[in-house]
């Protein structure tokens, strides 16, 4: 029971508090949207002044941000996220259609980016050689300097007939890879400089043995913390990448909503992505044994 209480106190409560606050920010944005609270029926010339006033009065409750927030929150709990003005569809339906596409591209991108970044960091640490380190560092640095939208453009043209999800996943992986490599390389280099590792090397332990038994294990918690952060990174990258790859996912939806100034849709998207990010961070912190803690 003590364990359960600790999980509730250190994982569930911060998670719920963060989500509620993110939701409040989302609704605040909706309230600030130009034209908020204006009903199209007010323009109907056949309506009398009394009818127009009645319509305005029906929106009066929404003018109070807190009341508006609780109304929105109760809608969210019922699965009602409102209506997209620009696309003319319920936001929940739009999200339901597009979330799986983004999930597939992000999963492909995160898995590829992590595999490539971590593998390269492990090779450079386990079998140190100056040319290899320089080449890996240069590769990572180049990808860090190219905007994600340009990366997506290059992959779209290089990919030819390849599926859009694969191309978007590839572009996301190229965004994730240099950050994973840089961070993992730094952590592994610190672990490799510890006295017991150097003693092992002096005694003739093989590179693989040193790497997998002495260097990697102490670094795993920090890498797990980075895993949570990389979800947020991949979400951010998904906007330009999906827009360029013409992939009908959450990122493309956000881009379209921004162009159409569809703020309710954007605010709901922000809330949804914040929720996924918070859950990913909390899970990575929990697996790590340090709930709520994130990578530096």
């Amino acid at each position: 029971m003590v364990w359960l209480a600790q999980v509730v106190r250190r994982v569930v409560l911060p998670l719920v508090a963060t989500l509620l606050l993110a939701g409040f920010l989302a609704t605040l944005l909706m309230r600030l949207a130009p034209g908020f609270g204006i009903d199209q029926r007010e323009l109907d010339a056949r309506l009398s002044a009394g009818s127009v006033n009645a319509i305005r009065e029906s929106h009066a409750a929404d003018r109070n941000p807190v009341a508006f927030y609780f109304r929105w929150l109760s809608g969210v709990l019922r699965g009602d996220l409102g209506h997209s003005a620009s696309l003319g569809q319920p936001v929940a339906q739009l999200l339901g259609d597009r979330a799986p596409v983004t999930a597939r591209a992000m999963t492909a991108g995160l898995v590829l980016g992590w595999c490539f970044g971590l593998a390269l960091a492990l090779v450079v640490t386990g079998w140190p050689s100056t040319p290899l380190e320089a080449a890996a560092g240069f590769l990572g640095a180049v990808f860090l300097c190219v905007p994600s939208a340009v990366m997506a453009l290059l992959l779209v043209f290089a990919g030819g007939a390849a599926s859009q999800v694969l191309v978007a996943g590839g572009a996301i992986s190229l965004i994730v890879f240099p950050r994973v490599f840089r961070y993992a390389r730094g952590m592994l280099a610190q672990a490799a400089a510890r006295p017991h590792v150097m003693t092992g090397r002096a005694r003739g332990l093989s590179g693989a043995r040193l790497l997998f038994l002495h260097i990697l294990p102490p670094v795993v918690p920090s890498l797990l913390a980075l895993a949570g952060v990389s979800v947020s990174l991949a979400f951010g990258a998904s906007i330009p990448i999906e827009a360029i790859c013409d992939l009908p996912g959450i990122g493309q939806l956000a881009w379209q909503a921004a162009q159409q100034r569809d703020l309710p849709l954007l605010a709901n998207l922000t809330f949804l992505v914040a929720g996924v990010t918070v859950i990913a961070n909390t899970l990575s912190g929990w697996v790590n044994g340090r709930p709520g803690e994130k990578a530096p």
């Binding site: 911060p14 508090a17 963060t18 606050l21 993110a22 920010l25 944005l29 600030l32 949207a33 130009p34 640095a141 180049v142 860090l144 300097c145 190219v146 905007p147 994600s148 939208a149 340009v150 453009l153 290059l154 779209v156 043209f157 950050r179 840089r182 961070y183 730094g186 980075l226 952060v229 990389s230 947020s232 990174l233 979400f235 951010g236 906007i239 330009p240 827009a243 360029i244 956000a254 881009w255 909503a257 921004a258 162009q259 100034r261 569809d262 703020l263 954007l266 605010a267 998207l269 922000t270 992505v273 914040a274 990010t277 918070v278 961070n281 709520g292 994130k294 990578a295 530096p296």
Partner: protein, 268 residues
């Protein structure tokens, strides 16, 4: 490594000088349309050719560089300043303000800031002038990116608070601004410098992404982001490789900023 950093510094200074001297290097002006020569290849009159409206691409590249290279550091200064102010105050107060502040950082870091940036931009009225929208965009970048730097400053302040020299100063009656100004800030300076250098390339890349998506700087103002839209016709680049110039200059500048960042740490 010192040599590489020196080279990066020299390269960056050259890029800055070229951008600041845009009026001398490309006197045609970034908005002047030479209708008689649209899509012209590089030549004597236009060193990098012209765009479809006959505007000098070199002038647009250098003036665009001014925007990215002057406003990105300004936004980085703003975010570092906000982070310093908040992190220092929370770290010095300790107790519940510190815990509340740490929770606020967590919340802020959980919010997908590019989504947030798009949302806030969508609130802006439609009749905002290009220059105003540009300033607002970089202002938003500076304000929204306070969290990562604040976390570092908070951690630094927390560790300094318990150092012997700070305790000694407090015992001797040094409090408030004097303690912060004389004892804390000088010791935290390396953190601010690092955060500043880390943020600059990050903001340049963000502007480039937004510009390429058509959500950045409005026409006729040039920026490296909206110049990258020339890459959308990538197959045509085989015949017009000079259209890659904005990308090359962007990668070089961002790479130089990364090399000059004092710590092996970056925004993730």
């Amino acid at each position: 490594m010192k040599l590489v950093r020196r080279l990066a510094l020299v390269t960056l200074v050259l890029v800055y000088l070229a951008c600041l001297g845009a009026d001398l290097l490309a006197p045609a002006g970034y908005a002047t349309q030479h209708r008689e020569s649209p899509n012209a290849p590089p030549g004597r009159a236009f060193l990098l050719g012209t765009d479809e409206l006959g505007r000098d691409l070199l002038a647009r590249l250098l003036h665009g560089g001014r925007i990215s290279l002057l406003l990105a550091p300004a936004a980085a200064l703003l975010s570092t300043f906000l982070a310093t102010l908040a992190g220092l105050a929370a770290g010095l107060l300790g107790g519940w303000p510190e815990r509340a502040f740490a929770r606020a950082i967590d919340v802020s870091m959980s919010l997908p800031w590019l989504f947030l940036l798009l949302s806030i931009r969508a609130i802006l009225p439609l009749n905002v002038q290009p220059l105003e929208s540009l300033l607002i965009m970089f202002l938003l970048l500076g304000i929204l990116s306070w969290d990562a730097a604040a976390r570092v400053v908070l951690a630094g302040t927390r560790s300094l608070r318990t150092q012997d020299f700070v305790i000694h100063a407090r015992v001797c009656g040094v409090h408030g601004w004097r303690l912060v100004w004389r004892h804390m800030l000088p010791n935290l300076r390396p953190l601010f410098v690092a955060q500043f250098w880390i943020s600059v390339p990050y903001f340049i890349l963000t502007e480039a992404n937004l510009g390429l998506l058509g959500l950045g700087v409005g026409e006729p103002l040039p920026s490296w982001g909206n110049l990258l839209r020339g890459l959308e016709s990538l197959p045509a680049l085989a015949d017009a490789p000079w259209l890659l110039a904005p990308l090359v200059l962007l990668v070089i500048s961002v790479g130089c900023f990364h090399l000059l960042a004092p710590m092996e740490e970056s925004h993730t």
